[in-house]
C-alpha cells in the first residue's frame, strides 16, 4: 500500500513539474517571440510566406529579387530593403511612410501584394493558436493584439545590428591591417571624389534623408516615391537613402532593383544620365559625371565590400577585400 502511495505521489510531482516547465517553454522575451513570428507563415493569408521569405537572414535580411514577391506570386514595385541596422533610422520603407519600427512591422502583413492578411485576422489566428496565446501571455501579460504583435517583431528587428566588419575593425579598433589599401583608397573616394558621403553619412552610412538620384522621368520610370507620402510635389522621385552596411549581400539595388551589382551602382553614380534618360529633378550632387577611373571604381567597390559584417564572411567571401 505504501509503495502505491509513493508511486502516486511521485506521479503527481512529475505531472506538476512537466506542466510547470511546459508553461515556461517558448521565447524568453519580446525579441525572441518576434524572431519566431518573423519566420512564421501564420501571418500571411495563404500561410505560405513569412517576413523572412523576403527578408532572408543569409542576405542581410534582404533578398535577391528585383522586387518583393508576396502571396500567390504577386509582385510589388519595390526592392526589399534590408531589415538589419534599423535601430538608428527615423523612417522606414523606401518612401518613409512608417515613423517607427512598430508601425513598419505591421504594414507588410496587411499589404495585399505582400502577406495580404488583415491585422485583425492575424491577431485572431494568434489568439486561437494555443502556443502563441501562451507565449504572448507570458511575455506581455495579455493575449495577442496588434500592439504587442508589432512590439515583438520590432524588438526582434532591433537586435539585427552589425558592427563587426573589416571597416569597423579598421576604424573602431584602430587596426590598419583589417583592410587592404584598396579599401582605404575607396573610403577616401567615398568621402571626396565620389561624393557618396554627402548622402551616406552616419553610423549606418545613411543621413536618413530622401533624395532624387535620377530614377524618375515620368514615363518608364514613374514611381513618385516620397511625394505620395508627403503630398509635396517637390519630393517627386525622392526615396530614402538606404544604409550601406552589408550592402554586398543585398543585390540587386535601388528602390526598383534595377541595378544588378555594386559595380553597376558605381557606374550609375559615375554617370546617371546613361542609365535613365530625361530624369526629372535629379539631385544637384549628381548633375555632373564623377569621372571615376577604372581603378577608382574598383577601390570604391572594395570599400563597399569591407562593410560586410564578419557573421556573413563565409557565405559572401566579401570581407577584407
Amino acid at each position: 500500500m505504501k509503495r502505491y502511495a509513493l508511486l502516486a505521489i511521485t506521479g503527481c510531482v512529475l505531472v506538476f513539474v512537466t506542466q510547470a516547465s511546459s508553461s515556461r517553454e517558448g521565447p524568453a522575451n519580446k525579441a525572441a517571440l518576434g524572431e519566431m513570428l518573423f519566420s512564421d507563415p501564420i501571418l500571411s493569408r495563404t500561410r505560405t510566406i513569412s517576413c523572412a521569405s523576403c527578408h532572408k537572414p543569409a542576405f542581410a535580411f534582404a533578398d535577391t529579387s528585383a522586387v518583393s514577391t508576396g502571396v500567390e506570386g504577386r509582385t510589388g514595385v519595390r526592392n526589399t530593403p534590408s531589415a538589419m541596422n534599423l535601430s538608428l533610422q527615423r523612417t522606414f520603407f523606401w518612401d518613409g511612410r512608417a515613423k517607427s519600427l512598430e508601425e513598419q512591422a505591421l504594414a507588410p502583413i496587411r499589404n495585399p501584394d505582400e502577406m495580404d492578411l488583415p491585422i485583425e485576422e492575424a491577431v485572431r489566428r494568434l489568439k486561437e493558436d494555443s502556443k502563441y496565446n501562451s507565449y504572448f501571455r507570458n511575455i506581455f501579460n495579455s493575449e495577442p493584439d496588434s500592439t504587442n504583435l508589432a512590439a515583438a517583431i520590432a524588438a526582434f528587428e532591433r537586435t539585427l545590428e552589425t558592427s563587426n566588419s573589416p571597416f569597423d575593425n579598421w576604424k573602431f579598433s584602430d587596426d590598419p591591417r583589417a583592410v587592404s589599401d584598396a579599401v582605404k583608397r575607396g573610403f577616401t573616394l567615398f568621402n571626396e571624389k565620389g561624393k557618396c558621403v554627402k548622402c551616406h553619412f552616419g553610423a549606418d552610412f545613411t543621413a536618413n534623408e530622401f533624395r532624387n538620384i535620377g530614377l524618375f522621368n515620368g514615363r518608364d520610370f514613374n514611381d513618385s516615391g516620397r511625394a505620395v507620402i508627403s503630398g509635396n510635389k517637390e519630393e517627386t522621385g525622392k526615396f530614402k537613402t538606404p544604409g550601406l552596411r552589408n550592402i554586398a549581400l543585398t543585390a540587386p539595388y535601388m528602390h526598383n532593383g534595377m541595378l544588378r551589382d555594386l559595380r553597376e551602382v558605381i557606374d550609375f553614380y559615375n554617370e546617371p544620365g546613361k542609365f535613365v534618360r530625361n530624369a526629372v529633378g535629379r539631385d544637384s550632387i549628381l548633375l555632373q559625371p564623377l569621372g571615376l577611373t577604372e581603378d577608382e571604381k574598383k577601390d570604391l567597390e572594395a570599400f563597399l565590400l569591407s562593410l560586410t559584417d564578419k557573421r556573413f564572411e563565409q557565405q559572401s567571401g566579401a570581407a577584407a577585400q
Binding site: S87, L88, D168, F172, N191, K198, F201, A203, D204
Partner: protein, 118 residues
Amino acid sequence: MKILLISAAAFFYAWFSGNDVLTGRWESRPSERGSVTGVVFKTDSTFEGYVNKKPFATGKYTLENDVFTFVDNGCDGKPGSYRIIFFSNSDSLRFQPISDSCEGRRQGMSRLVMGRVK
C-alpha cells in the same frame, strides 16, 4: 647626453602639448534609445567618430589651449571650432560652439557629453 636631452624635451613636449589631454577614447552615456556616441582622438591629430561601435566620422583636429578646431568627412569639409570644457577631474568633457556653419553638427556637438574610457 644629447639623447637624454632630446628624450627629456620630447617628454615635456608630449606632457604639455594640447592634444595630449584629448588623445584616447571618449564615449557618451547611453541615450534614451540606448545609443552611445564615441570618439577616438589619436596622437597624429586625427580622430574617428562612431555611434554604437559603428565608425563613420573621420577627420583632423587641433587643440590650442581649450579651443578645438576640426574638419571631418561630413559637412562638405567645413571646419568647426569649439571650446572644450573639461570637468570631473578632466575625465569628462563637453563642447561649447565658437563657430560652426554646419547646423546639424553644431546641434549634435552642443548636446554631446563624453567621459574618458578607462
